[in-house]
């Protein structure tokens, strides 16, 4: 009888789970996922077309400029969503774009660009929070749209989700952005957090549940 199948009393038999060292494929500047983790990345809509990433990766300045213009609004949106002011979001986005431009050649797998870029964006946000160290209340930003009529509608529409988001933890908000807004796979997010994709799946599920409950409270 082996240790893995031993049954003591009425306890359930303990089964060893294979250890997957997700952190092994997490890097700060040369992040790329193994091929098997990227297999389901192709099916989702990309932030930047792969051919643009490849051309920029090969040093084409025009493609690099296009890549920057494509990721810039998403970074601004993410930082505004995270509670930063417009100026802070623009400053941080500029830093991330500079990092992306200078480190792009170190990206081994261009398919992993989205997760890699968001890992830089997240690290920049963490660093900004660490430096500023101000325990302030989370205040979701209000999108400023073109017309006053739309603005009024949007403000009304978003007040509920903003209220719900303010009840969530920073980690939950981040997971919801990456999974539900940017559409990253569990494997990609796991690579960023350094945890198994199954753990991310559960964490995302719980974040959605908490959002639903908070949303209900805001609606009630």
């Amino acid at each position: 009888m082996t240790a893995t199948s031993a049954t003591v009393g009425n306890t359930k038999p303990f089964t060893l789970r294979p250890f997957v060292a997700d952190s092994a494929w997490v890097g700060t500047h040369a992040y790329s996922e193994p091929a098997e983790q990227l297999s389901n990345v192709d099916s989702r809509e990309r932030l930047v077309p792969l051919e643009v990433i490849n051309a920029a990766h090969n040093g084409d300045p025009d493609s690099l400029a296009r890549l920057c213009t494509l990721i810039h609004p998403h970074l601004i949106g993410f930082y505004r969503y995270s509670g930063l002011t417009t100026h802070e979001a623009e400053d941080l986005s500029g830093d991330v774009i500079e990092d992306v431009v200078t480190r792009l050649t170190s990206l081994r797998e261009t398919k992993a660009f989205d997760a890699w870029m968001w890992s830089i964006g997240r690290n920049r946000l963490k660093g900004w929070i660490r430096v500023n160290r101000r325990p302030r209340r989370y205040e979701p930003a209000t999108p400023t749209v073109a017309g006053p009529e739309e603005l009024a509608i949007d403000a009304d529409d978003h007040s509920r989700i903003k209220g719900a988001l303010s009840m969530l933890s920073e980690r939950d908000r981040e997971l919801l952005w990456l999974r539900e807004v940017e559409g990253l796979t569990y494997g990609e997010i796991g690579g960023r957090f350094g945890v198994a994709s199954g753990t991310v799946r559960v964490a995302c599920h719980r974040a959605r549940r908490r959002l639903e409950r908070a949303y209900e409270k805001e609606g009630g």
Binding site: A65, C68, Y215
Partner: protein, 215 residues
């Protein structure tokens, strides 16, 4: 599961929070200012900068440190070569000489000491100059060591006991002549013990000038 979802949607007023979340997020993205690529200086006609390999910076730092150490070592060695007894780095000069002798490079240590004695004499450090020269003559051979060293010891003893300025000047003059004789006449190379001994005796004579004649 479906019932729970429907219930939550009903409670939420038929609105899916995730749809609302996406709408809100897309609004934030849409409201973001457009980036002007011309403001990116990194893209202004320049190639994409290559990130250095992770070993490049440490390797460059290590090479730089080694080069700095070598430059510092050579600089100290060169500086120490012109040092004289009493200088802080004179010990390094002696160490370098010992090291060169140890690896088989011949060093004329006697000539080095004579040069140092000249420098000390020019600095008016007469006692140190005589002491340094005595070390050189001691290395030259028995004939010189036996006589010249004895004369220089006499001069050192006289100086240590105190002499009048005229006597000190006499010692300085004769000692300078001894050094010139040693260097300029090629006495070291030729082993001219007689010339050296003769000049050294003049030093001893000068040192005895103020001695009270014993009757």
């Amino acid at each position: 599961m479906v019932a729970r979802l429907l219930l939550s949607m009903a409670l939420a007023g038929d609105r899916d929070p995730l749809d609302d979340l996406r709408s809100y997020a897309n609004g934030l993205v849409a409201a973001a200012p457009t980036l002007d690529p011309s403001t990116l200086h990194l893209l202004a006609g320049s190639p994409v900068p290559k990130r250095p390999h992770r070993f490049t910076v440490p390797a460059m730092a290590a090479i730089g440190a080694v080069v700095m150490l070598l430059v510092a070592e050579v600089g100290v060695t060169v500086a120490a070569n012109s040092a004289v007894p009493g200088d802080g780095i004179y010990g390094i000069d002696l160490l370098v000489e010992d090291a060169l002798v140890a690896i088989g490079i011949p060093i004329d240590t006697a000539a080095e000491r004579i040069d140092e004695a000249e420098v000390l004499l020019a600095r008016n450090e007469l006692a140190s100059a005589i002491q340094t020269a005595r070390v050189a003559y001691k290395d030259m051979g028995d004939e010189v060591a036996a006589t010249t060293v004895a004369h220089l010891v006499d001069a050192e003893v006289a100086l240590a006991g105190g002499v009048d300025p005229a006597t000190e000047q006499g010692i300085r003059t004769t000692f300078g002549a001894l050094l010139r004789t040693t260097k300029n006449t090629g006495a070291i190379e030729a082993g001219e013990a007689r010339a050296i001994n003769s000049a050294a005796s003049e030093v001893a004579s000068a040192a005895r000038a103020d001695e009270v004649p014993q009757s």
